[in-house]
C-alpha cells in the first residue's frame, strides 16, 4: 500500500535520515521508532507531503485518502469539536450539511466523545483532545492513518485506551496505520512491524516485528532500546 524507496529526509543541507526503504501493507500497523531527534516526525511529515524529500520517493498504491493525528492534536482552536470534525467534509462539499453533521457525530462517538460535540478544544483534557483529533483524522474515511506520537502527554490509561481505539479502527475498518512512537508498551501492544531510525548514524538500524527485534536485532542499540520493556 505504501512504498518508501531509498528516501533521504531533512531540513537543511544535512540529511536527518538517509537510505530509508520500507513497504507498508494494507491493514498493517507500522511503527516508526528511534531516539529523540532521529527524524521520526520528519519522516512522517515527508510521507504526508508537508515537506519534500531530499531524495527518493514515497508511493501510495490504492490509497484514496489519508488522515493525520498530529503530536499535540492540532485542533483548530476557534472551532468546536464538532466543527473541527466537520470541516474536512465541509470543504470537500460532497454531502448535505445534515449528513456531514451526523457523520461527524458518529466519528466523535467512535472515539468516546459523544456529548462533547459543542465543547471547544481549550476546555478538553489532553486525552480528549487527542481523541477529538483522531475523530477529525477519520472524517474523510481515510485508507491510511498517520499518528504522530499519539500517546505523548497521556497517562497510561488514556494511552492504553487510544491504542485499543487504533486497533479497533484497523480491525473494524481495515485502515492502514503508520505510527510514530517512543512508547514501548504501545509499540508492543499494537504494532505489527517497526522501523528503527538511528539518530547517530542517520540511517535506519532495523526493520521487523518488534518482539523479534528485541531478541535478535543485529544492532545492539536496537536491542537495548527495545529491551527496556518486556514484549
Amino acid at each position: 500500500m505504501i512504498s518508501i524507496d531509498d528516501l533521504t529526509i531533512g531540513y537543511g543541507p544535512q540529511p536527518v535520515q538517509s537510505a530509508i526503504s520500507a513497504q507498508v501493507g494494507k491493514g498493517e500497523i507500522f511503527a516508526v521508532v528511534g531516539d529523540s531527534g532521529s527524524g521520526k516526525s520528519t519522516l512522517l511529515r515527508t510521507m504526508i507531503g508537508l515537506m519534500p524529500p531530499q531524495s527518493g520517493r514515497v508511493v501510495f498504491q490504492g490509497a484514496s485518502s489519508f488522515g493525520v493525528l498530529f503530536q499535540n492534536g492540532a485542533l483548530w482552536t476557534s472551532m468546536s469539536v464538532l466543527e473541527n470534525v466537520m470541516l474536512p467534509m465541509d470543504l470537500q462539499g460532497e454531502l448535505p450539511r445534515a449528513a456531514r453533521r451526523a457523520l461527524a457525530r458518529f466519528k466523535l462517538a467512535l472515539v468516546g466523545l459523544a456529548g462533547d460535540e459543542e465543547r471547544y478544544p481549550a476546555s478538553l483534557s489532553g486525552g480528549m483532545r487527542k481523541r477529538a483529533a483522531l475523530a477529525r483524522a477519520l472524517a474523510l474515511d481515510p485508507s491510511v492513518l498517520f499518528l504522530d506520537e499519539p500517546s505523548a502527554g497521556l497517562d497510561p490509561l488514556a494511552s492504553r485506551r487510544l491504542d485499543e481505539l487504533v486497533l479497533s479502527l484497523r480491525d473494524g475498518l481495515g485502515i492502514t496505520v503508520v505510527l510514530v512512537t517512543h512508547e514501548l508498551e504501545s509499540l508492543y501492544r499494537i504494532a505489527d512491524r517497526m522501523l528503527f531510525l538511528d539518530g547517530e548514524t542517520h540511517r535506519p538500524a532495523a526493520l521487523g516485528v518488534p518482539a523479534e527485534l528485541a531478541r535478535s536485532a543485529e544492532s545492539t542499540k536496537v536491542r537495548n532500546f527495545l529491551s527496556r520493556v518486556t514484549p
Partner: protein
C-alpha cells in the same frame, strides 16, 4: 603564588594532570588549556590524574576533565583515564557519550559585513515571499467572487468584526486628536496673516488625503495586523496549519484570503469614519481659538476638499488595508514553530507594516505628482 593545575607529558606519552589541594578554579574552565601546559593535544596515549588524597571532587573538577578529554581525544579514539575515582569516571562517561562530533568552537562566526549581507538577503527573500503571497491571493480572488473559495464564512465574519467594530473607538480617538493637533498648528501660523478660516483647508486636505489613511493603517497594523500574525503564528506552532494542509486546504485560501479581503474592504470604511472625526477635531479647535463659526468651517471644508482628494485617500486606504493584512499573515505563516516565534512574528508584522505603509504612501505621492492630481 597562584595554586594551579599542572599539565605535563611523561616519557611514555601520558598526560599527567596534577591537581592542587584546592581543586580546579572555575576561572580556568574558560582559559585555553595551552596556558596550563597542554601541548600537541592529539598526541597523548593516556591521561593520569594526580591529586592530594584528602581532596573531594567538585563539579568544576568534572567539567575541567570533560573539557580536557574533548581536546585530547580525537574522533573515534578514546583515551584511557587513570587515577580517577569510579564515581567521577561514571560522570565523565556520560559527558563523553553525549559529545557531538562537530565542536561548536569550529563553527565560524560570520563577520559584520557578512552579517549585513545575510540580513539583506533575508530581506530580499522576505520581500519575494510577500510578493508571491500577494500573487497567490490575487489568483484566488476569482474563486472568492465565484463563491468557490475554501474558507469558512464564520472566519470572515469574525475577522470583519475584529477589524471593524472593535477598532472604531481607537480610530475615532486618534483621528479626532490628529485633526485637533493640525488645527492648533495651523491656527498659530494662519492667525498672524488674518487667514484663520484657512485652517479648514489645512485640516481637510491633510487629513483626507494623507494623514487619515496613514494613521488608520498604522492603528490597524498595531492592532489587527499584529493579531493576524499572532493568530497564524500560534496556529503554525500548534500544527493547526499542517492539519489544514493534510486535508488538502491551502492555508493562503483558508486563512490569508479572508483576512486580506476583510481588511481591504473595511479600511476605506474606517477611512471615511476617521475623516469625519479628524474634521470634527479640527472644527472643535478652530471654533474657540479662531472664533470661526461651525457653518463657516464646514462651508470652507466643502470648498477645500475636491473629489480627487477623497478618491486618493480611499484608494490609499484600500491598498494600505490589503498590505497590512498581507504582511501580518505573511509573518504569521513564516513564524518559527515556538512561543518565541509568535512574539517575533507579531513584532516583525507591526514594524514591517508601518514601514510598508509609509513606503507605499511615498509611491502614491510620486504617482499623484506625476498625474498632477
Amino acid at each position: 603564588m597562584e595554586s594551579r593545575v599542572n599539565l605535563f607529558r611523561t616519557q611514555a606519552g601520558e598526560l599527567v594532570v596534577a591537581l592542587p589541594e584546592t581543586g580546579i578554579d572555575p576561572a580556568w574552565l574558560a582559559r585555553p588549556l595551552a596556558q596550563l601546559g597542554l601541548e600537541n593535544a592529539a598526541s597523548y596515549t593516556a591521561v593520569r590524574v594526580e591529586m592530594p588524597a584528602s581532596r573531594r571532587w567538585s563539579t568544576p573538577d568534572a567539567a575541567f576533565f570533560a573539557r580536557l578529554l574533548a581536546e585530547v581525544e580525537a574522533p573515534g579514539r578514546r583515551i584511557e583515564l587513570k587515577g580517577l575515582p569510579p564515581e567521577l569516571e561514571k560522570l565523565l562517561a556520560l559527558a563523553r557519550g553525549a559529545r557531538r562530533p562537530v565542536a561548536a568552537a569550529n563553527v565560524r562566526q560570520p563577520g559584520i559585513g557578512e552579517r549585513v549581507g545575510l540580513a539583506a538577503m533575508r530581506g530580499v527573500d522576505d520581500a519575494r515571499a510577500l510578493v508571491a503571497l500577494l500573487g497567490e491571493v490575487v489568483l484566488l480572488l476569482p474563486r472568492l467572487l465565484a463563491g468557490r473559495a475554501k474558507m469558512r464564512r464564520a472566519e470572515l465574519v469574525e475577522v470583519l468584526a475584529e477589524s471593524s467594530s472593535r477598532a472604531l473607538p481607537i480610530v475615532a480617538v486618534v483621528s479626532l486628536l490628529m485633526g485637533a493637533i493640525l488645527a492648533f498648528v495651523g491656527a498659530v501660523q494662519l492667525k498672524t496673516f488674518g487667514a484663520g478660516i484657512y485652517v479648514a483647508n489645512l485640516v481637510g486636505i491633510a487629513s483626507v488625503r494623507e494623514l487619515t489613511p496613514i494613521l488608520t493603517a498604522i492603528v490597524l497594523a498595531g492592532r489587527t495586523g499584529a493579531s493576524f500574525a499572532a493568530r497564524i503564528a500560534t496556529m503554525q506552532s500548534n500544527e493547526e496549519i499542517d492539519a489544514l494542509v493534510a486535508i488538502g486546504v491551502s492555508p493562503v485560501e483558508f486563512l490569508v484570503l479572508p483576512r486580506v479581503v476583510a481588511l481591504g474592504l473595511l479600511m476605506p470604511l474606517l477611512y471615511v469614519y476617521g475623516c469625519g472625526f479628524a474634521l470634527l477635531g479640527g472644527m472643535a479647535v478652530a471654533m474657540p481659538v479662531l472664533d470661526v463659526s461651525a457653518t463657516a468651517y464646514v462651508a470652507q471644508t466643502q470648498h477645500a476638499i475636491a473629489g480627487a482628494h477623497f478618491a486618493i485617500g480611499a484608494l490609499k486606504a484600500l491598498a494600505f488595508g490589503g498590505l497590512v493584512a498581507l504582511i501580518g499573515c505573511h509573518h504569521g505563516l513564516c513564524a518559527p514553530r515556538s512561543a518565541a516565534g509568535v512574539g517575533s512574528a507579531t513584532t516583525s508584522a507591526v514594524v514591517s507594516s508601518i514601514i510598508g505603509v509609509i513606503a507605499l504612501d511615498a509611491v502614491f505621492a510620486i504617482c499623484a505628482n506625476a498625474l498632477k492630481v
